[in-house]
């Protein structure tokens, strides 16, 4: 029994102090793709590394810690307003370099070139603008993984694809009754 524990400790120690042979081989393959490619693939943050390791299905005991760490990455606008200007929000939503939200979501009904990987956001504003709704929408858009670990939806705010203020504008695009997403 004790021998087993010592052995396990040894194994863990080895695992932590040096790379396993598969990992070393994998990193060599990444480098064969060139410096720029390898750099980005090796710059995984902790969340990305865990999602890769567990093939996007985290063991239940890791989930609370994961969610808390993701929540801690969320930044808020200096003025504290989580709902901004829907007109600018629409620009960020549509811009392929920033939100690119149509890749996965339906939005304004007139836009037919929308993806279906995410739920439709048409008429998202039906849920009203109470504080918990606004806060959830803000945090979800800023860091989707703070609610659904390893979701397909990227953490746009965390990666700086849009600023906290632009996130608030996206919230307005989804929740403002005047937004074309909510107009019938």
């Amino acid at each position: 029994m004790r021998r087993k524990a010592v052995l396990l400790g040894l194994l863990l120690g080895i695992g932590l102090s040096q790379m396993g042979p598969f990992r070393a081989r994998f990193e060599a393959a990444l480098h064969s793709g060139g410096h720029e490619f390898a750099q980005v693939m090796l710059a995984q943050d902790k969340g990305q590394a865990l999602c890769s390791q567990y093939r996007d299905k985290l063991p239940p005991d890791l989930i609370p810690g994961f969610l808390a760490e993701q929540k801690a990455l969320i930044k808020y606008p200096a003025n504290g307003k989580l709902m901004g200007d829907w007109r600018n929000g629409e620009k960020v939503f549509t811009d392929p370099k920033r939100g690119n939200c149509y890749a996965c979501h339906a939005g304004v009904p007139e836009e037919v070139a929308y993806g279906t990987m995410g739920p439709s956001l048409t008429a998202y504003g039906q849920r009203g603008t109470a504080e918990p709704v606004v806060r959830y929408t803000y945090e979800k858009i800023y860091n989707a993984w703070a609610f659904v670990p390893c979701s397909l939806m990227y953490r746009g705010g965390v990666h700086g694809l849009f600023t906290p203020e632009e996130t608030a504008d996206l919230v307005a695009f989804l929740l403002d009754p005047e937004s074309p997403i909510n107009r019938r």
Binding site: F22, R25, F26, A28, A29, L30, S32, G33, G34, E36, F37, Q39, V40, M41, A43, Q44, Q48, C51, S52, R55, D56, Y102, A103, C104, V112, A113, Y114, G115, T116, M117, W145, C150, L152, Y154, R155, H159, G160, L161
Partner: protein, 267 residues
């Protein structure tokens, strides 16, 4: 002369494409992208009597029989079934080659033999030539059943590396191949339907993409996905391409998939 003809033809064809592409994106109801590709294909055939892919095959054939600095043509290269055999080789690649002691896909094998057999220096090898030769050789596996079954230890190692790459989430868009091509296979990104390896992902390359007016090989197509998820594309002929190709095509093999008409005609 084949090449010149190709460029003139492609130039003319591109004009037609743009008109078609406009109709494709501006319509009220989105067209089914597959049907639209078939419609474009028909238009090319009726207007020009030839598909753009065939022009690449023709060019690749000329280059295949061109003598390199060593005086040899690519007939002297073993592409997987012995020297000079082209029939069905694309369907069994990537595989391990004893002469280089590594696993190579067709594109890499062409690149290798242009050096080791034909005597070209790497700097003398044009990417467009490798693509055309690849297309020529792949045309001998049109509609063939995919048969990528890793057996050699180096092939098994490549499969495992490919699977690891497949699941690696990285970059500013937090993506991996798996989240889109496994979890959400059958759904669309914008208007593009996404397939899984089990559904035959990767079975249509090399292909002429009418939206881009360009020929894409498997490596080009993998790069296109990497770039669209904010990860710089790996350099050509890298283990990244080869490992991912082994993984995808081995999975397609398990599901009993076949290649499309090669070179394919697609969006």
């Amino acid at each position: 002369m084949g090449r010149k003809r190709r460029w003139i033809l492609l130039g003319v064809v591109a004009l037609g494409t743009w008109a078609g592409f406009g109709a494709y994106t501006q319509q009220q109801k989105p067209l089914d992208p597959f049907e639209e590709a078939m419609r474009q294909r028909q238009m090319y055939l009726e207007t020009f009597g030839v598909l753009p892919g065939e022009l690449f095959v023709e060019e690749g054939k000329e280059l295949f029989f061109r003598k390199g600095p060593s005086g040899k043509t690519l007939e002297e290269c073993d592409f997987g079934k012995g020297k000079g055999v082209l029939e069905g080789v694309y369907a069994i690649l990537p595989k391990y080659f004893p002469d280089t002691k590594r696993v190579e896909d067709l594109e890499t094998r062409v690149y290798t033999c242009m050096q080791t057999v034909q005597g070209f220096k790497p700097s003398e090898i044009k990417r467009d030539e490798v693509k055309a030769i690849t297309t020529y050789i792949a045309s001998f596996s049109s509609k063939a059943r995919i048969q990528v079954v890793p057996k050699h230890p180096a092939e098994l190692a490549m499969y495992n590396l490919g699977r690891e790459l497949w699941y690696t989430r990285a970059g500013a868009r937090d993506m991996s191949c798996a989240v889109c091509h496994d979890q959400y296979a059958g759904q669309r990104v914008r208007l593009s339907p996404v397939r899984s390896p089990k559904q035959g992902l990767g079975n249509e390359w090399p292909a002429y993409r009418f939206e881009e007016d360009k020929l894409y090989t498997m490596q080009d197509r993998i790069d296109f996905c990497y770039e669209s998820i904010a990860i710089p594309k790996p350099e050509f002929y890298s283990e990244v391409h080869i490992a991912l190709t082994v993984y995808m095509l081995a999975e397609a093999t398990k599901a009993g998939r076949s290649f499309e008409e090669l070179p394919f005609f697609t969006r």
